[in-house]
Each structure stands twice: as C-alpha cells, then as structure tokens.
C-alpha cells in the first residue's frame, strides 16, 4: 500500500521535474518579454535600457530602469509601482522623463474585475490622461478625492489604486533624482 503510493509519487515527481526543466526557459523568456514590452511601452523610443535597479516605491521594495540616450545621459525612467487594487495587487509600470513629467503608463499585472476595474488596461480615455501628466501642475488623485484624474465608471477603487501607483512612482522618482 505504502509502496504503491510511493511509486506513484516518484513517477509523478519525475514527470514534473522533466516538465519543469523543459518549460523553465520559455517561461523565463515569456516573463522577461512581458516586462521588456511594458518598459518599452512607457518610454520614448530608442535609448539603451539599463538593468533593473532596486528602489523603494510607496514603502515597498521595487525596481526601476533607466533609458540612456547615445551620449550616456538618462533620457527617461521606468519605475515599477505596486498598490492594492480592488481584487489584489495592481502593478503599474510608470515612465517618467527627466523633468518629472509622466511619459506613459502601462499595467504589468492586475486582478481587477473583468468588465469593470480591468478596463484600466484598455480604457483609452483613462490611460491617455496620464500621458504627459505634469505632477507639479495637476494632482494625482481621482476627481472624487479632489484630484485631476477621471476615474473609470463604477471602478473608483481601481482608479484610486492606479493613481496612487503613479503618484508613488513620481515620489520615488524624486528620491532617484536626488541621489
């Protein structure tokens, strides 16, 4: 009886080990591609991308990437920022130009409600308002809270989390620049 269970477990774990070895590389590649695509989406085209640099964003350990222009000066920064959304962590990649303006934003991962909060990945009006957002002129909170961000209909919590993620990234950017 114990022998049978042991045998079955042995065979199964061997199978899984094999499958893991087979897929480890494609999985790592896929994840790297997703990350790269999101970094590229929020930064101006061209420029050489740095490796990930650790930084604290909104009190949590995170990382950022620097895109350098041909003469070696930083052309833009991409900061990974995570906040609590409606359904779980909401991770946003925030691109910033050296003058502190938001270049673009993109959602890296989320668990928001499909059809409602999940629109933060496709609602053009919502996403476009962050393009060129100047944090020194406008306030990065939703209009309901006295800010300048139009929330997604019926998804205030997601919109708040998104705005906070961008805001945290802007704060983190100030520390990065200060160094």
């Amino acid at each position: 009886m114990a022998l049978c269970l042991t045998l079955v477990c042995l065979v199964c774990s061997a199978l899984l080990g094999g499958m893991y070895a087979l897929t480890a590389e494609p999985i790592a590649k896929t994840n790297a591609d997703i990350l790269r695509a999101s970094v590229n989406a929020v930064l101006p085209e061209g420029g050489e991308l740095s490796e990930a640099v650790p930084v604290e964003v909104g009190g949590q350990a995170s990382e950022y990437y620097v895109s350098k222009s041909s003469d070696g000066t930083p052309a833009a920064y991409a900061i990974k920022s995570t906040t609590a959304g409606f359904g779980g962590p909401l991770t946003v990649m925030v691109g910033l130009t050296p003058d502190g303006k938001v270049y673009n934003t993109s959602v890296l991962s989320h668990t928001e409600t499909p059809g409602l909060g999940a629109k933060c990945t496709e609602d053009e009006h919502f996403m476009n308002q962050f393009k060129g957002f100047d944090p020194s002129q406008k306030i990065l909170t939703v209009k309901k809270d006295g800010g300048d961000v139009d929330a997604i209909t019926a998804s205030t919590i997601t919109s708040r989390a998104y705005s906070l993620a961008v805001k945290n990234a802007v704060e983190a950017f100030k520390t990065i620049k200060g160094e």
Binding site: C4, C9, T23, A154
Partner: protein, 196 residues
C-alpha cells in the same frame, strides 16, 4: 463505433452534463465564464486533464490498493494539472494570465475526481478516454454557452467582438450575474432535455 461506446461519449453532453445536470465544478463555472473565450479556454483545460487522468487511472486502477486509491488519483490529477500549468505559462501567457488561479484549482474540481472514481477506476482505457472526452466537451459546451450569455448581456460583445458601444448590464460580468445566468440556462436546458 458501437452503440455502447457512442453512449459513453454522448452522455456527457445531455444526460449527465456536468454543469447543467450534475451541478459539478461550480467554482470554475461561475468564476471563469465572464466571457465566451474564457469559458471555452477553461473548458478545454479541464478536458485535457480529464482525458489524460481518466486514461492513466483506468490503467493503474487494478493494481492500486483500495485504501490509498483516492490519494493516488489525486496525485495523478495534480501531476497533469501542473504539466498543463507549466505549458500554459510558457506558451500561452495571455490565457494563463486570465485563467490564472483557476488552473491549479482544476485539481479539486469534483468532475475530474468524480469521473476517476465513478468511471475510470471500473472501466477499460478506451471507454475511460471516451468518457473523459464526452464529459470534457459537455463541460466546455456549458462553460462556453454561459460565457457567451454573460458576455452578450454584460459587455455587449461576443467572442471579443463588440456589437454595441458602451457598457452592457454590468451585473452579468459580476458574481450575481453568474448565478442568475446559470440558473436560467439550467431551466432552459432541463426543459429541452425533458422534451427529448
């Protein structure tokens, strides 16, 4: 194909449809059917696990002692689910992102263990494979139909193609809509099934 084999295959669609008749696997049914394509993917993922675990379990059942048969079945099912999870993560990352948590949860889907226990452990390999296919396609069909209904009513689109601008009845995307749509579909399904 003999009449008996055909019966084994087709009973999953109507007579023993896992969703509308047996009411098994309600958790993934309600949670993943926010759109037709999600329902379809979840159904196919379950189909894959169901067929392979049915085949393996029917092959090993005669030599597995009675006392440990449930743990052995679960280990077999969990192995196939994990293989599927690795494969999806590597080759269909978008689908993996949507279904995410519900892929590992196939392990505890009562349909899979139910078929192993009620059918595969007592029948031959070919019959068990047919049973897995039938039940799997029945489940896929149910999830796709439910996903279509919820997507049409909830987002005004079908398989991602939008036919109205703006939002639909958002409640159908959320949990309450899942119960409502499932309830009405069940009534409809059983009404049709009874007539035949």
């Amino acid at each position: 194909m003999s009449k008996r084999k055909l019966d084994i295959f087709t009973k999953g669609f109507f007579k023993e449809n896992p969703t509308f008749v047996l009411l098994l696997g309600m958790c993934p049914t309600l949670a993943t059917t926010t759109s037709a394509i999600n329902g379809l993917s979840m159904g196919l993922a379950t189909l894959f696990v169901l067929v392979l675990s049915n085949i393996v379990i029917s092959a090993i059942a005669p030599v597995v002692p009675d006392k440990v048969h449930i743990p052995v079945y679960i280990v077999v099912i969990a192995t196939f689910v994990t293989i599927l999870q690795f494969a999806m993560q590597a080759y269909t990352p978008d689908m993996y992102k949507t279904l995410g948590l519900f892929i590992p949860l196939i392990v505890v889907n009562c349909i899979v263990l139910g078929r192993a226990e009620a059918f595969a452990s007592k029948n031959g390999i070919v019959d068990s494979a047919l049973d897995g296919l039938g039940i799997g396609f029945g489940f896929t069909m149910a999830l796709t139909v439910l996903g279509m209904v919820r997507e049409i009513l909830g987002s005004g689109s079908i398989f991602g193609w939008k036919f109205i601008s703006g939002d639909g009845l958002l409640v159908f995307i959320m949990a309450p809509g899942a119960f409502i749509a499932l309830g009405y579909l069940m009534v409809l399904f059983n009404k049709i099934a009874k007539k035949n």
